[in-house]
C-alpha cells in the first residue's frame, strides 16, 4: 500500500468518524429537545369545581396528573392554551392555583412550570425561603434542585410522572431552581 493510499484511507476514515459523530450528536440533541417538549402523563379526566371566580378563565378540560401527599396537580386546557394547576388532594377538582403561560408548554426553553411557594420574612432583603415545592416538568426532567444563593443544592426533588412535590423543605434562602435529566445533567435553570 502506497503512502498516498494510506493517507487517503486515513482521511476517509476521519471524515466518516466526523460524519457519524455529527449525526449522533444531532440525534441526541433532537431527542433531548423532544423529551423536553412533551408530557406523557395524560392523567385522568376530572370535573373542575367551577367557583364563580374561576369562571372567567376559559378552562375547557382538566386532567389529574397526580396526587402527592396532600396535594393534587392538574394539567389544564384553556381557550388560550395549556395551563397547570394545583389544589388540595382531599377535594378533587378544586383548584387553588392556576398558571397559564403564554405559548406552548413544555418546551426545551420552558420544561418546568414551578408552582412552589416562597416566603420572605424580611422587609429589607430580597431573600426568600421555600414554603412548599411543587410543579410540573417535561418527560426528560428526572429531578428538580432548589438552589442556595451560592449555587449549592438545598433540596433535590424527584419528578415522577411529570409531577414533583415536597412538603418537607429545608430552612434558609433559595435563589433559584434547576432541572436535571436521569443522568444528572443540568437541562435548564431559573433564573
Amino acid at each position: 500500500m502506497t503512502t498516498r493510499t494510506k493517507v487517503t484511507l486515513a482521511v476517509l476514515a476521519l471524515l466518516t468518524a466526523v460524519a457519524v459523530g455529527s449525526v449522533l450528536a444531532t440525534r441526541t440533541h433532537a431527542s433531548e429537545r423532544a423529551h423536553l417538549s412533551q408530557i406523557s402523563n395524560e392523567g385522568h379526566h376530572v370535573a373542575l369545581q367551577h367557583g364563580s371566580a374561576w369562571r372567567g378563565f376559559g378552562l375547557t378540560s382538566a386532567s389529574l396528573l397526580g396526587v402527592r401527599g396532600a396535594r393534587a396537580v392538574y394539567r389544564l386546557e384553556s381557550k388560550g392554551g395549556p395551563c397547570v394547576g394545583a389544589g388540595p388532594a382531599d377535594d378533587p377538582g378544586k383548584l387553588g392555583t392556576v398558571d397559564c403561560p403564554r405559548g406552548p408548554f413544555p418546551t426545551s426553553q420552558r420544561p418546568v412550570l414551578d408552582l412552589s411557594v416562597y416566603e420572605g420574612a424580611s422587609h429589607d432583603s430580597h431573600e426568600v425561603s421555600l414554603y412548599r415545592a411543587e410543579g410540573v416538568a417535561a418527560d426528560g426532567v428526572a429531578s428538580i434542585a432548589f438552589l442556595r444563593p451560592t449555587g449549592t443544592v438545598a433540596l433535590r426533588v424527584p419528578v415522577n410522572a411529570n409531577v414533583y412535590e415536597a412538603n418537607a423543605v429545608p430552612n434558609g434562602p433559595i435563589a433559584g431552581l434547576a432541572a436535571y435529566d436521569a443522568a444528572g445533567k443540568e437541562l435548564w435553570r431559573s433564573p
Binding site: S52, A53, W54, R55, G56, F57, G80, A86, G87, P88, G96, T97, V98, D99, C100, P101, R102, G103, P104, T107, Q109, R110, D114, L115, S116, V117, Y118, E119, G120, A121, H123, H126, V128, Y131, R132, S190, P191
Partner: protein, 141 residues
C-alpha cells in the same frame, strides 16, 4: 391604513378586557386599573406600606383570589413568552410575604389558602429582578 388601525384598536381593547381579572365577580382591587396595564419595576410602589419597596399591594381585606396578567412587553421570546423580568405574586400579612415566582408572560391566579395563608391579608405583586414587567392585577374578595 385606517382598517389596520381599527384592527389594532380592537385587538388592544380585547387584550385589555382579558387582563388578570379573575371574573366579573367582585373585583375588589385592581392595579393599575381594572382595564389597563402598568409597569412594575424597581421603585414601583402603590405607596401604602407594602412589604417591599418595589411592590404593588392591595389594602387589607379578606381576599379570595389574586389574578395577575403579565405581557411580553418590553420584550420576550415570542415563542415561549420568556421575559427577563421576574415577579413574586401572592399575599402578605404583618409577619411574612408568600407567593409564586414567574418570569413568563401569561396569566396566573392564586388563592390565599394555597400559600398557607388566610384571614386579613394584602394581595401583592412584587418586582423581584430584571427588567420591569407590564402587568395587570385583579383581586377579588
Amino acid at each position: 391604513m385606517k382598517r389596520l388601525a381599527l384592527l389594532f384598536s380592537v385587538i388592544a381593547a380585547a387584550a385589555a378586557i382579558g387582563l388578570g381579572q379573575p371574573s366579573s365577580a367582585s373585583a375588589g382591587w385592581c392595579w393599575p386599573s381594572c382595564s389597563g396595564y402598568g409597569m412594575l419595576g424597581a421603585g414601583t410602589s402603590t405607596g401604602n406600606g407594602c412589604w417591599y419597596y418595589s411592590e404593588v399591594c392591595s389594602g387589607w381585606g379578606y381576599w379570595y383570589l389574586n389574578g395577575v396578567a403579565k405581557t411580553c412587553y418590553p420584550g420576550c421570546d415570542p415563542y415561549n413568552g420568556v421575559t427577563s423580568g421576574r415577579i413574586l405574586y401572592g399575599y402578605e400579612n404583618r409577619d411574612r410575604i408568600r407567593g409564586n415566582f414567574t418570569s413568563f408572560a401569561g396569566k396566573r391566579y392564586v388563592q390565599p389558602g394555597e400559600l398557607g395563608m388566610g384571614g386579613y391579608l394584602r394581595a401583592q405583586v412584587s418586582w423581584w429582578s430584571g427588567t420591569a414587567s407590564q402587568i395587570n392585577v385583579g383581586v377579588t374578595g
